[in-house]
Symmetry: C2
Subunit: 362 residues, 2 copies
């Protein structure tokens, strides 16, 4: 792959859906929620692109409070590549700043932007699709990957596919916000819409031009940061400028407006690991659909997820008798028990702890 | 109360029904399963009779493997009063030996035999009944306490009540084994039957005579142990003699056969704490019938028992969402999750661990 290829891993996240495992200081991407039992989602993200992008060309965009934990999770990524946003301003400022940073070192850089917290089952197939997207980006296209839908999902945005522009690469006609159920069914039925998985590929130069054209306020801010970086004064400029940048997603701010947008359709067992229910689906199961620690005793128990992340987990024996379709998650300082069908209500627990000001458990 | 009054607390127990809290080395009576949150059942047993029997006249009959833990749970009971049965031979040998031991020190002793693992809600009422039973025992009666039934329980034996022999004291006509459901309903309907709660009161001399008459093999064995004790050789005699003693309960071996058997009817919130279901019933509840650790988050959750006996319990937050009528018990090395309606199946977990030879968790 091109020595100009860099990756930006988007690693923000608030950590409510996976409470008590996820916390403000330990959001979803830092947890081993799918795939290898001891590998965090972000570590898997970096590892699976390694044949195409070595760790020394990987950049992480994250929040200031997460820098240490993120760097610790990725020992092979240079510490200086862990970029701390002073405040969260959605994806456009963050991608813009990271892209500028890369372009300062390599003006001919090609960039792959990838979320830190997704799971991909078929990694070789993913790398093939990624390589194709990079090739399109090298050709000047602002490129995304579109996941071939497997259900009328209302939780994702969709991308309408147009004509082929290269082998396996299609023009992207438009981006569509999360639809309601009926609309989602219509979209999927046409066969012309793909899920927007938040992955973007572009020449750094092309993205900077697109930002200059469609988000001039952002471009101006990034120019100030660039200028300060030239005199070694980036941290102060960043702290001053970043909060004033427009809070907008790269989808809205750039992709929906720019020309020459391409999409590479992909099918590689993608999953955004959106809830404990999904974590159960993706975990290895026993014959009774339980995803429980090794050695557990289950008697007439089916469909349960037990995730024990506490320090004593390895020497603890779980015994489930006569219970079905439960999610049980234990950490050193909290335990959650909820039916799989109600995992969305975890948010209510986090809200309640917030009201109580139990900040140490948020 | 009489300075001749001694108490024998029966503290054997195998510890399966309250797994994982109870273990072979930490059976039910050593756990705080009802009443004060930090008081084991055996400590409560000793404390509640203290106005009548001071700790220095309390004796504990337990198994050899439980001596240390039992002594630690009862720091005010003299260590020499913790009597270790070399092997379990049911209650007659154990009560016989403890009674002989007491009689050596005080031939005029009066003895109260009490189970270590029951709960009593109304302690003053219990002491009144106990005092009445002791008075009957002083009058030469082999006396028991009969609990006024509140339901047609099939898990207890029953005692048929005869004529009054003193104020609040009735002759016991006969002892009846655990009945089936229909028989239990009949017994309770007559109003002439009380639950056998396994409490016995007698003059040591009277019990020794009754054993000599009805269990001569036991009497002979106890005589050998007594003889050895006189020459300081009790431990060896005990180890030799005890395994050969007849394994029989005091109910079968003596009470059902002897004459002058009395029963004192009692109503004092007695409960034998027979299962996690009962532990839930007896625990303090919130408005939604949850018995959960302080500070727990419960959202649309009702009728649950959470018992966290692990070391980190005090700093752990339990969150229950949308779950009902569950029992969850955690210790340092095990967690049990079972519906309240199926707590009897805990035995199956213990059986399975035994099959697996996970002895450290039994």
């Amino acid at each position: 792959m091109s020595p100009h290829l860099n990756a930006i891993i988007l690693a923000g996240g608030s950590g409510t859906r996976f409470w008590p495992a996820s916390r403000r200081r330990r959001p979803k991407q830092l947890l081993p929620l799918a795939g290898r039992p001891d590998e965090s989602l972000i570590a898997a993200t970096v590892r699976r692109i390694e044949p195409l992008v070595p760790p020394e060309r990987v950049w992480i965009a994250t929040g200031a409070t997460l820098v240490d934990a993120t760097a610790a999770a990725l020992p092979r990524v240079p510490r200086a590549h862990v970029l701390a946003e002073p405040v969260a301003r959605n994806t456009a400022p963050c991608i813009g700043w990271a892209t500028s940073t890369i372009a300062r070192l390599d003006p001919d850089a090609v960039v792959a932007v990838l979320p830190a917290d997704h799971f991909i089952a078929d990694e070789p197939a993913f790398r093939d699709v990624l390589a194709r997207a990079v090739t399109a980006a090298e050709g000047g296209w602002l490129t995304t990957i579109g996941i071939v839908p497997t259900r009328p999902e209302t939780g994702y945005g969709y991308i309408e596919v147009g004509d082929a522009v290269a082998e396996g690469v299609r023009a992207a006609v438009r981006f569509i916000e999360k639809p309601d159920r009926r609309r989602a069914e219509e979209l999927v039925a046409t066969g012309r819409y793909l899920w927007n998985a938040g992955m973007f590929f572009y020449r750094a130069r092309v993205m900077k031009e697109a930002i200059a054209r469609h988000l001039p306020a952002l471009a101006a801010g990034l120019a100030r940061i660039d200028g300060a970086a030239a005199t070694g004064d980036e941290p102060r400029a960043l702290a001053e400028v970043f909060p004033s940048l427009p809070s907008i997603s790269i989808d809205h701010g750039v992709m929906e407006k720019a020309e020459r947008i391409a999409v590479v359709p992909g099918q590689f067992g993608w999953n955004d690991v959106g809830s404990w229910e999904v974590a159960w689906e993706m975990a290895p199961h026993d014959a009774h659909h339980n995803a429980v620690p090794d050695g557990s005793v289950t008697i007439d128990a089916t469909g349960n997820l037990v995730k024990d992340l506490s320090r004593g987990a390895s020497s603890k024996r779980w015994a489930l008798v006569g219970v079905h379709d439960l999610v049980i998650v234990e950490t050193d300082d909290a335990v959650l028990v909820v039916p799989r069908s109600r995992v969305q209500d975890v948010r209510a627990v986090v809200d309640l702890l917030q009201e109580r000001e139990e900040t140490e458990r948020l």
